[in-house]
């Protein structure tokens, strides 16, 4: 009978605990849900809807309901996440909204395990001590990466960890293939992480050159990896260079805080900063060892602070994975300082420490906050601090969006009046219909003036981060000029086929105003085609005609 090593038991324990406390809590301990579950912001729905669209119509063009009705706008988002989600959906029978979220979360867990093997090559005890910290990618604020839909960045960072591993294993035969595949995956998942992966490789091999340890074989391997990467990624890089790189060019700027977002700041590690700092100091002293396990976290730490030189959101996104990247410092710091007490670490000591750390981070013991600042809560020791939440979507809203998707003509147009969640406008694309929505400010203003109007200021929501591209030829991209008032302006509400009214709202008066408008439309010939506890959908029988009597109430 094969000997079951303690290490394997620890890895299995970690995998189970991380699955349970991470995606387990996130998804209410289910994989399949009746609606998009734990979706916390518009971006999450943006990726979910795009995946649905690719599943329906393929990879070349955005679905019209994503890009304001246009049919020839190219998809400029990197494709890998969407492809993986579609294949998992087909294989497992899961809905896209479950499959895509699961892909992102699952590979974050795998990244933690891959990082273990990177660190293990340096020192097995340090690797065991490092592993538990990874669990904190599911704690607030790092978990924002999952909840708010920073999914391409999170998945790409999982592939960045694979880059670390492939560089660690650069000595094995034909390793350049593994390196090329890993870097290409970052580029085709979220290209900004490729920049950080390249920075890591540049620093790693630059140091090897400086210390006269760079071999000819390494040089050839990296050259081959680079060539294969360019071949694999060429098609998408042409899109990236002509779209994202144009509309989000690098601009030097100092941005200490991530405005409007619950960013992860270093003080969020609380008292763990002590062993982490010790680990960092010892790492720098060991830098001549030129080990991937030492250099990778140093580079990613530097990368996470490049928001001070213009990398803005891309640096803040790296911090979602701080519990993985910086885990080496924690493990090394504990290992190095405890050497005074424990002369010789063995697997039993390491295992006991592993269990203790896992318990500390799991949230079983809820430590008080050390300090509250304007920016963050600084803990004594960070721990998993999130409860299950269904997120933005409710079963009633999902039912109404699905009804429109399944029961209206494909070219129908939809107008959304006020809804608490509709400001996260990617939600609305789940109708798979061209849609527009009332501007909440104008809606409130009309309510305050006690007016029923035919024209409201209306937003025409859409994606690709606000700009669209056509592709007349392989290297040529154009961004069409849209007429003034197309995206946002005063529009008649009588030009739509369907109208959506929320019957409930956190501010009841807004829902009541919704229903007042709906009733006026019913008097003019509209009919109720769908209704549940939260939403009513009307169908216009006079599109373009007189759909509502203006007046005061």
């Amino acid at each position: 009978m094969a000997k079951i090593g303690i290490e394997k038991i620890l890895l299995l324990t970690f995998f189970i605990v991380m699955l349970y406390l991470g995606p387990g809590i996130l998804f209410d301990h289910k994989i399949k849900h009746d609606f998009p579950f734990a979706y916390g912001a518009s971006d999450a729905f943006q990726h979910q809807v795009r995946t649905e669209a690719i599943k329906d119509i393929g990879n070349r063009f955005e679905a019209p309901y994503i890009v304001k009705g246009f049919k020839d706008f190219v998809i400029i988002y990197p494709p890998v996440m969407y492809q993986l989600a579609i294949m998992l959906s087909y294989s497992s029978g899961l809905e896209i909204y479950d499959a895509i979220y699961f892909v992102v979360v699952f590979f974050a867990v795998i990244a933690a395990l891959i990082m273990y093997f990177v660190i293990k090559e340096f020192n097995k005890t340090v690797a065991i001590l490092s592993l538990p910290l990874s669990i904190l990618i599911f704690s607030f604020p790092a978990s924002t990466g999952f909840l708010w839909g920073h999914w391409p960045s999170v998945l790409s960072q999982s592939f960045v960890v694979l880059v670390f591993w492939s560089i660690l294993r650069r000595e094995i035969k034909h390793s350049f293939i593994l390196i090329a595949i890993a870097i290409s995956a970052t580029a085709l998942t979220h290209t900004s992480e490729t920049i950080f992966a390249i920075i890591f490789m540049a620093i790693f091999f630059g140091l090897r050159l400086a210390f006269k340890k760079l071999t000819k074989r390494e040089f050839i391997n990296m050259a081959l990896a680079g060539m294969i990467f360019l071949i694999i990624s060429f098609y998408y890089l042409v899109i990236f260079i002509n779209t994202w790189a144009v509309k989000q060019p690098f601009v030097f700027a100092v941005q200490p805080l991530w405005d409007g977002n619950p960013g992860f700041y270093i003080a969020g590690f609380g008292l763990l900063l002590i062993p982490i700092a010790i680990g960092l100091i010892f790492s720098i002293s060991e830098i001549k060892a030129l080990h991937v396990a030492i250099i990778a976290p140093i580079v990613m730490l530097i990368g996470s602070y490049m928001n001070y030189i213009g990398f803005e959101v891309r640096s803040f996104q790296l911090r979602f994975f701080w519990p993985i990247y910086l885990s080496f410092f924690l493990g090394f710091g504990i290992y190095a300082t405890s050497k005074f007490a424990i002369k010789k670490w063995n697997l039993m000591y390491a295992s006991a420490s592993f269990i203790i750390l896992l318990v500390l981070f799991s949230g079983i013991v809820k430590f008080p906050a050390l300090m509250q600042t304007d920016i963050q809560t600084i803990p004594y020791i960070p721990y998993l601090n999130r409860e299950t939440s269904p997120g933005l979507m409710s079963p009633f809203h999902w039912e109404s969006l699905s009804w429109i998707r399944d029961n209206t003509p494909k070219d129908a147009t939809v107008y959304f009046f006020y809804g608490d969640i509709y400001s996260q406008d990617a939600v609305l694309r789940n109708t798979k219909r061209i849609h527009q929505q009332v501007d909440p400010e104008d809606f409130v203003k009309a309510l305050q003036e006690r007016k029923i109007k035919k024209e409201y200021i209306t937003e025409f929501p859409g994606d690709t981060a606000g700009s669209f591209y056509q592709r007349p030829s392989f290297f040529h991209f154009t961004s069409p000029d849209l007429p003034s008032g197309f995206n946002f302006g005063l529009k008649s509400i009588c030009n739509f086929d369907y109208y959506v009214f929320d019957k409930v709202s956190r501010q009841n008066v807004l829902a009541q105003y919704n229903l007042l408008i709906a009733n006026e439309m019913l008097k003019k010939g509209a009919e109720v085609v769908f209704e549940n506890e939260a939403v009513v959908v009307l169908k216009s029988n006079n599109v373009g005609g007189d759909c509502i009597e203006e007046g005061n109430f």
Partner: protein
């Protein structure tokens, strides 16, 4: 003769295939614990899908480095490598016109086949 070579332990390490089987059962157990509210059939389908798309293709591709890396590391890294290859090539064959519904069948099969062939050539 090809059959004899393929069935040799050096290519198909029966012990490692057993480990894959054990890994599947452990993964199923882990999923059952983590997602205890989920229907068993859904869990089974999900784990089978993960193994079909990522674990098994990754294992066969990484067989080439069997002498350099131990089973666990090879399998875990193989999951990432498989995801990378499948994600990238699914994009390109989709652009080429193959309907996405077939990718989940075709791509893992190609990768498993490629892994076996590469290993055969290595032995030759």
């Amino acid at each position: 003769m090809l059959e004899e070579i393929v069935l040799k332990k050096e290519i198909f390490d029966i012990k490692e295939l057993k480990y894959l089987g054990i890994l599947f059962l452990l993964a199923l157990t882990a999923f059952k614990i983590a997602f205890f509210r989920e229907n068993s059939i859904v869990l089974l389908r999900s784990v089978v899908a993960i193994f079909w798309l990522f674990v098994v293709p990754g294992y066969f591709l990484m067989l080439y480095w069997k002498n350099n890396l131990d089973f666990i590391e090879r399998t875990v890294a193989g999951i990432g490598i498989s995801a990378a290859i499948i994600g990238i090539f699914s994009y390109y064959i989709s652009l080429a016109g193959l309907n996405l519904r077939f990718h989940a069948i075709v791509l893992p099969l190609i990768m498993i086949f490629a892994g076996v062939i590469i290993n055969l050539k290595k032995l030759d």
